[in-house]
């Protein structure tokens, strides 16, 4: 296996979002086809980090390089061909059909008048199948359930056909079944094509089972940065450091899977 290329390089990033969440010097190197989970307490800057990489917010100082080029030097369209973004949830109602919404993800690849080509149609059909939402294709977005909507948002970003996909707590509002469907769809996508994923999540076990790497944030600093295996070997002490409560290791009887949980743990406000 060849050493894969660095695709995103975050260098000493300082950024603020809504003037209260602050990143104080984040450095991170993400290579092609890696899947990163950004974890940490509320208000430590996870969403700020992902929004900075999506260039929704501008860094106060420091740099983000995408394919060796400063993210700020891309224009809107060429940036959209590199990075796609799935928000935690949408604000307001999206009044389009699922098919149209996903087609709109092809915007950066289309000409000025956004007329869909045969290729665009075939990509949309492919993405619909990949994300298991072909049956929803004629539905209007506002009639979907939360779990369906989240997979459609994912599909819209996948249709953008970018090497990098950013997910901001994509399954926070989903029930366990829809959460599984979401990650099933995502797994199929990155099995099918080259995809580097960075996602914010509060679910430690999702992070450990789905992602190859973990970035743990604490008060705007990187407290842990490394492979999931490395992280697992440091559990649960690293979890105590990150979240300030005691986690326990649980093993299931049927197989060797282990999960971490803080059930029944006392809340200790560790700084």
């Amino acid at each position: 296996m060849s050493i894969s290329k660095e695709i995103i390089s975050i260098q000493n990033l300082h950024a603020a979002y809504k003037s209260n969440v602050v990143l104080k010097g984040i450095s991170l190197s993400v290579r092609k086809n890696e899947r990163w989970a950004v974890i940490g307490r509320n208000g430590t800057g996870k969403s700020t980090l992902i929004k900075a990489v999506a260039s929704i917010i501008e860094p106060q100082s420091g740099k983000i390089l995408v394919n060796g080029k400063d993210i700020l030097s891309y224009n809107a369209r060429s940036r959209a061909r590199q990075i796609a973004y799935v928000p935690q949830k949408t604000d307001g109602v999206i009044p389009y059909t699922v098919y149209d919404y996903i087609m709109m993800g092809r915007y950066s690849a289309m000409d000025l008048f956004a007329v869909a080509s045969q290729k665009d149609h075939s990509i949309v059909r492919e993405v619909l199948a990949l994300c298991n939402i072909a049956h929803l294709s004629d539905r209007i977005m506002s009639t979907l359930s939360g779990g369906e909507l989240q997979r459609v948002l994912l599909a819209g970003a996948v249709a953008q056909n970018t090497p990098v996909l950013l997910l901001d707590e994509p399954t926070t509002y989903l029930d366990p079944a829809h959460e599984r469907l979401f990650f099933h769809a995502l797994s199929r996508v990155h099995y099918h094509q080259d995809l580097t994923v960075i996602m914010v999540t509060h679910d430690i076990n999702i992070a450990l089972s789905y992602c190859t790497h973990i970035c743990g944030l604490l008060d705007g600093h990187v407290a842990f940065c490394g492979s999931s295996e490395d992280f697992k070997s440091k559990c649960p002490s690293i979890l105590f450091e990150l979240f300030g409560i005691q986690f326990h290791k649980y093993s299931s009887d049927e197989n060797t899977a282990t999960v971490f949980g803080a059930w029944g743990a006392e809340c200790i406000q560790a700084k």
């Binding site: 990075i83 709109m104 289309m110």
Partner: protein
């Protein structure tokens, strides 16, 4: 559910409706006549070509223009209640006109009367105010409409104040102006209004894909490659300018900007802005054309300002939109 297959049929019906409104309405009024009479009688020919045709065209394009302006505002601010009227653009334009009337401005510059320029200035100014509010911290689309209501209310308060302290003939002119109407429009006034309105249609047509993206939310639209700031600035300025010209020519005509896009969303749900813009234009255009015809004949021999007719029909519809929001099928 999606109604993809009957969209062409519905669009055909809407097109036929608006074309027949455009064709038949000029024949109806305090004096009605047939096509034969227009051809044979000099007197009817004058009324038809010099009065009814420019008036009907003004109503048609103002109705369509306000409808498209409403659609643009609803998409830009992702708010179903946004329209030139609710965002205070019409109110600002009325205030500008009232000030000019009270100051006794009667002359004109390059064929545009000072009163019209006052209306255009007022409309653009109130849009700048609202936009400044939008760019300020902690504003969202709900507070935006509240800000629009505040601007409208303050403007109408000031108009009433000016109205009270003005001499009688100015006061009457102000009152008549703020009711809105397309009567007394000649070809010159029509042309002055049509140029910016057609420019507005052209810009909106080019930016329709961007409007689609705006409805998905700023973050998604931005990461999909829309230059949000640029598109929004272009759309807001050209829309405010076009609304200013329409209000300057026809007075503040309410509710068309809200009714038409929502009527389209009810008739053909789930369509993108390419279809929505066309359909909104046609519905807005035929709505105002028919309303103006009703205004001509409902209280003969007097004429009712068309703004009153649209308010009477539009108010209840506005309420229906508010109630229908609950089922989330619309925006």
């Amino acid at each position: 559910m999606y109604t993809g297959k009957i969209i062409p049929l519905k669009l055909t019906i809407i097109s036929l409706l608006s074309l027949s409104a455009l064709f038949f309405c000029p024949f109806i009024g305090i004096t009605s006549f047939s096509l034969q009479e227009v051809i044979s009688k000099e007197e009817f020919r004058f009324i038809f070509f010099q009065i009814r045709i420019p008036r009907t065209l003004a109503a048609f394009f103002t109705g369509g223009g306000l409808a498209v302006a409403g659609m643009v505002f609803q998409a830009l601010f992702r708010n179903p209640l946004a329209s030139p009227y609710t965002l205070g653009v019409s109110g600002g334009a009325s205030l500008g006109a009232a000030l000019c009337i009270a100051a006794g401005a009667g002359s004109s510059i390059m064929g545009i009367s000072i009163i019209s320029l006052g209306a255009i200035g007022g409309g653009v100014l109130s849009m700048v105010l609202i936009y400044g509010f939008l760019l300020s911290k902690e504003s969202n689309s709900a507070t935006l409409v509240l800000a629009g209501v505040v601007v409208s209310t303050v403007c109408s308060g000031l108009i009433m104040f000016i109205h009270q302290i003005s001499p009688l003939h100015h006061a009457f002119q102000i009152m008549r102006w703020t009711m809105g109407g397309v009567d007394g429009i000649n070809y010159q006034l029509l042309l002055i209004m049509l140029i910016p309105v057609l420019l507005f249609f052209l810009v909106v047509t080019i930016l329709l894909p961007q409007l689609d993206q705006f409805m998905t939310g700023d973050d998604i639209a931005y990461t999909r490659g829309v230059n949000i700031r640029l598109s929004r600035n272009i759309l807001i300025s050209i829309t405010a300018l076009a609304v200013g010209f329409m209000v300057a020519t026809c007075g503040p005509i309410g509710f068309v900007g809200i009714i038409a896009p929502h009527a389209c969303r009810i008739i053909i749900p789930g369509v993108r802005h390419r279809m929505l813009a066309l359909c909104s234009f046609l519905i807005g255009a035929s709505f105002l054309t028919i309303s103006d015809t009703i205004a001509r004949v409902i209280a003969q021999p007097a004429e009712i300002p068309v703004g009153i007719i649209t308010a009477i029909f539009g108010g209840p519809f506005f309420l229906i939109v508010l109630f229908r929001r609950k089922n989330r099928l619309m925006m």
